[in-house]
């Protein structure tokens, strides 16, 4: 049996991150989930991963904490032997019009969404460099390209991920480490389910493909970018938005 690749995925306890974890596990990757929530909140995800017959472990960590992320990366390498794939998915929102946005709203969103990516990339790349192999995918957002009223902090963090990704792609290309971003549009989640029919119809008008995306659509894009089929692709932003931003 060939050795499994090891994927570290942040924010994978639930939602899009959990779907990415399940999808990569189904492809035979061992998975290290890094999430801020209690482990019990991810029990369903961990059960699904175990059902795929791969190794899966949960690491509780705040990705904005530089020292804590280093400890987690070292622990994953100790326990799994290596990290082949990093998926930076952890993210939060604190939506407000700029006029009402507090300094804390800005700092919190930038710390988790953008500095969190830096922290993980910073600690994972030395290991990837020595293995001469690495696949890094960070979850951005079309909002990072379009901007969005009420999301100055979130949009800035997601645009920042694009600049970070392109720089990492240039710095580490010579070590066979690729860095790419996936930019989701409107994805069906508990949040979009709560919208009124009228609000949904207004949303559909913005999307040429006429429907919301599913978490699986994002996971499929990540699966492609970490696969051998994407070995010559680095520094790209793959929009998965039904054509919302063209």
């Amino acid at each position: 049996m060939s050795e499994n690749r090891v994927a570290l995925i942040t924010g994978a306890g639930r939602g899009i991150g959990a779907e990415i974890a399940r999808t990569l596990a189904a492809d035979g990757c061992d998975v290290a989930i890094v999430d801020y929530a209690e482990e019990s909140a991810a029990s369903e995800t961990l059960e699904k991963l175990a059902a795929c017959g791969v190794r899966a472990r949960y690491y509780r960590c705040d990705v904005s904490d530089f020292a804590a992320t280093k400890a987690v990366v070292d622990a994953v390498v100790r326990e799994f032997g290596k990290i082949d794939i990093l998926v930076n998915n952890a993210g939060i929102t604190a939506d407000k019009l700029l006029l009402r946005m507090e300094e804390g709203d800005w700092d919190r969103v930038l710390s988790i969404n953008l500095k969190g990516c830096f922290n993980l990339i910073k600690h994972v790349t030395p290991y990837m460099m020595r293995k001469r192999y690495g696949r890094i995918v960070s979850i951005s957002s079309v909002v990072g390209m379009m901007g969005n009223a009420g999301q100055a902090n979130y949009a800035a963090s997601k645009a920042g991920i694009i600049g970070l990704t392109k720089s990492v792609a240039k710095e580490f290309g010579a070590r066979n480490i690729t860095a790419n971003a996936v930019a989701p549009g409107f994805i069906r989640t508990a949040m979009t389910d709560a919208l009124s029919e009228e609000q949904k119809q207004a949303m559909y008008k913005l999307i040429p493909l006429g429907s919301l995306g599913e978490t699986q659509d994002i996971a499929n894009a990540v699966r492609f970018l970490v696969s051998d089929d994407a070995r010559y692709i680095t520094g790209v932003v793959l929009k998965v938005d039904g054509g919302m931003y063209i």
């Binding site: 030395p126 020595r130 001469r132 710095e171 580490f172 010579a174 070590r175």
Partner: protein, 75 residues
Amino acid sequence: MTTLEKLKEILSECKGEELDITAETTFDELDFDSLDKVDIVMQIEEAYDISLGENMQLSTVGELVAKIDEAVANK
């Protein structure tokens, strides 16, 4: 473990193969690129808890060993 032995370990790990290194081995022979050099310096600094600075113009492994020993002595 001597400084040379430790250095051999770090350089070999960075190269991904067991290197045959002596104090006379030159860095030109070893053919590390700029990314390797940053990685090597960072690993040495971590291993010995010293600071080597950004711009080291060294031609042989022996010179690097001397530089490390000097930094360790001055800690």
